[in-house]
Amino acid sequence: MSLPKISCVPASRLLSSIHDLRWLLRSVTPLSVPRRALVQSEYRRPGQPREDKPQWPMFKFDFSKGLEGIKKHFKLLRHEVSGRLVGPEGKPIIEHMLEQNRVIWEFRGPDSLQEWTLSSDREIGGQSEIYLKLGRNSDTCFLYGTLQNAPPRDGETRYSGYCTMRSKQPLASFDRKTHYDWSSFNTLHLRIRGDGRPWMINVATETYFAHQKYDIYSYFLYTRGGPYWQDVKIPFSKFFLTNRGRIQDDQHPLWLDKINTIGFTLGDKAEGPFQLEIDFIGVCKDYAHTEDFAYEVYKRNPEV
């Protein structure tokens, strides 16, 4: 099982199997993605002193940018309100009901790259690198970099070597968090061209309780490599529940009504350069797929 294992294990906490999963946190990418697009806690490397920086100096009071922001948000608000008059989610109801395929992410211009956040080993002190650019001559994205397995020498991290790309949480007007609703679909369809490395697809949903904060539904993405594009169809019933990279005992199917982000992770312990091109990511309704869930839901490890 090649789930990314990044365990920095103080001995006393090993058995409670809480392991830090750095790749969930976002980082600055070379494409000047805004560092604090959404307020989240930054990971603090062990041994680094806490920085007591007040948040307010970071705000830049720029009049023209403020005006642009107001325009943008009111425009979004207007679309939302008028969209509701057309039908659910801004589409006519007949389209919403009969829709069989929907393209969620395409890479048509440099703006589409702003929707993605890159992260790698570097945050915890490793040496892996990851970069994202637009594919040449095609409307695809090209994710490339180098994977290095050497764990950072901070005394507690044992495994390392991962790179990840994660989409950003969709935002409505005035930066309100909203979710994707894929409840009328049952399969994830990707068109990719990899180099033979196995990746992992992670879908994060909206959760309520604190212990569900790092709950992610994952599945493997095996690439064939080669010059031909590969169509990958993964039914949502195959996604298994993990928390902080550890697969959970109590499994349940992925709920599609409030999806926050999707991400791709590479952690296959093979040092060297990697690349992945993605043409589009879509969801579709496969009528031939009738499975609810691929794994057993009943309690498999009853208590002592």
């Binding site: 393209v103 395409e106 080669g226």
Partner: protein, 486 residues
């Protein structure tokens, strides 16, 4: 033999031939194995050796026993070993660790359990010696003191000995734990995480097995039950491994054979069939690796050239317009588990819309079913199975090849080989894009305004696009093969 008693330092003056005998005896692993006589002897010898060691240290007769053993190995003396044949002398300096540890105890330096493994000389690091070290540890003390540290050290050193994928070694290591001591006996012990350090160690061991993808067997389960009981953390971990591993074992739609072929030609065949995506594709070996002698007598190693082409690719190449160039691009990386191989591609630019000719299907190509149906069915939104994306047309790929040396001469040879089956290659100009960086298939030079709007640097038709990353070296050469190979 000196009786077993607390030996005081300096008691026992050793003479060189005593030490010879002792060391010779100890260098033979046989003595420390199961034989009863051997065990008695070794136990008898131990205190002797302890005192002997310190005495030797003082006398400075021999700086260290392990060095002596090395000397013996170098000089290759055939010594008369005590109660066993000299043939088994090769089996390493494993017992030397006994002595070294005691010496370190005497000198009060930090002795870690890893030293037991480190003292095995590099050339002897095999599964046998690893097992021997474990045996040395288990037989040393019935209570197995320090077994947790020993197991952690062993887990770290496994890769040096090359046994990290061996299930029997993991079982043997699990055997180091004393049995039935850590099994909780009443509800209070069950509640309170009985022997947490040992349970953690067990979990670590299973986690290393999991990392290497090794499936445990019933022996592991029996050992775990004997050591930790049935509701312990290591047992739970074992149950999780046994639940998830079979589910994920065969989910790779492009499986890679477990021992990868070592021969580069076989590896090339495997990877080319993998990326060809066509079962009809045929592999051609244009050149096997061999050494050639030039006129001046130098040896040149000729690389292997393995190419692949399917009938549909041959058709596409036959239909290609001879006025447009074809490109040889590469090297592109392909990862097979942990090895990276590189392949080269022969491709052309996509045909612009104006020139696309729709050829009607030949009805005689397939008699089983009609290739084209002229039915006038209305498909509404519910039946539309295609995605709302522009069709990506990057141009046809005509052939792929793999070679160890990616220079132009070798690729020229490949093209000449291809020409035998595709005569059009003789008339078409071939351009070479051999970059040495991260690769993506370079698509069409965008000159047609109506076709696929992209933001591009200005590029002309004949010339290849300038590479964006500065390290890439673009070589290009026009090659017209008239009169070659005809």
């Amino acid at each position: 033999m000196r009786p077993r008693e607390a030996s005081s330092e300096g008691d026992f003056a050793l003479s060189p031939d005593h030490i010879d005998l002792l060391c010779a005896v100890l260098s033979d692993g046989n003595l420390l194995e199961g034989s009863a006589d051997g065990m008695k002897c070794s136990r008898g010898l131990l205190p002797l050796v302890r005192s002997g060691r310190t005495a030797a240290q003082r006398c400075a007769l021999l700086p260290s026993t392990s060095q002596l053993i090395v000397q013996q190995n170098e000089q290759q003396q055939v010594l008369r070993y005590f109660r066993c044949s000299p043939a088994s002398a090769k089996r390493g300096p494993v017992p030397a660790q006994f002595v070294k540890e005691d010496e370190q105890k005497g000198t009060k330096s930090l002795a870690t359990k890893e030293d037991l493994f480190e003292q095995v000389a590099k050339e002897y690091k095999t599964k046998d010696t690893f097992n021997k070290v474990i045996d040395v540890f288990t037989k040393r003390d019935i209570r197995r003191r320090g077994h947790v540290e020993f197991i952690y050290a062993a887990l770290k050193k496994m890769s040096e000995f090359g046994v990290e994928r061996d299930l029997s070694v993991y079982n043997k290591l699990l055997d180091v734990f004393p049995k039935e001591v850590f099994v909780p006996r009443n509800f209070i012990q069950r509640m309170f995480n009985h022997y947490p350090r040992q349970q953690e160690c067990g979990v670590e061991l299973l986690e290393q097995m999991e990392n290497y993808g090794i499936m445990p067997n019933t022996e592991t389960k029996v050992l775990l039950v004997q050591i930790f009981g049935e509701k312990s953390h290591p047992m739970r971990k074992y149950q999780r491994i046994m639940y998830w591993f079979p589910k994920f074992k065969y989910i790779n739609p492009f499986p890679i054979p477990q021992p990868l072929p070592e021969d580069p030609v076989d590896l090339a065949r495997l990877s080319l069939t993998r990326i060809a995506n066509d079962l009809d594709a045929r592999i051609t070996i244009y050149q096997l690796p061999c050494t050639d002698f030039t006129e001046s007598g130098e040896e040149i190693k000729l690389p292997h050239i393995v190419g692949i082409q399917s009938p549909s690719q041959m058709e596409l190449l036959a239909k290609h317009n001879p006025k447009k160039p074809v490109f040889v691009e590469g090297p592109f990386p392909l990862w097979l588990r942990k090895t990276c191989v590189y392949y080269y591609v022969l491709r052309a630019d996509p045909i612009p819309l104006e020139e696309k000719v729709e050829e009607p299907y030949d009805p005689e190509r397939c008699f089983d079913y009609p290739l084209q149906l002229d039915l006038d069915l209305d498909r509404d939104l519910g039946d539309d199975e295609s995605f709302d994306v522009d069709d990506l047309d990057e141009g046809p790929v005509f052939a792929m090849c793999m070679t160890s040396q990616g220079d132009q001469a070798t690729l020229n040879q490949w093209i000449s080989g291809l020409q035998q089956n595709n005569p059009i290659l003789g008339k078409v100009p071939t351009l070479f894009h051999l970059d040495a960086g991260t690769q993506e298939l370079q698509g069409a030079a965008d000159t047609e305004p109506g076709y696929r709007h992209q933001a591009h640097p200005e590029a002309q038709r004949e010339e290849p696009q300038p590479a964006e990353d500065p390290e890439a070296v673009v070589e290009e050469e026009s090659r017209r093969s008239h009169g070659m190979k005809q």
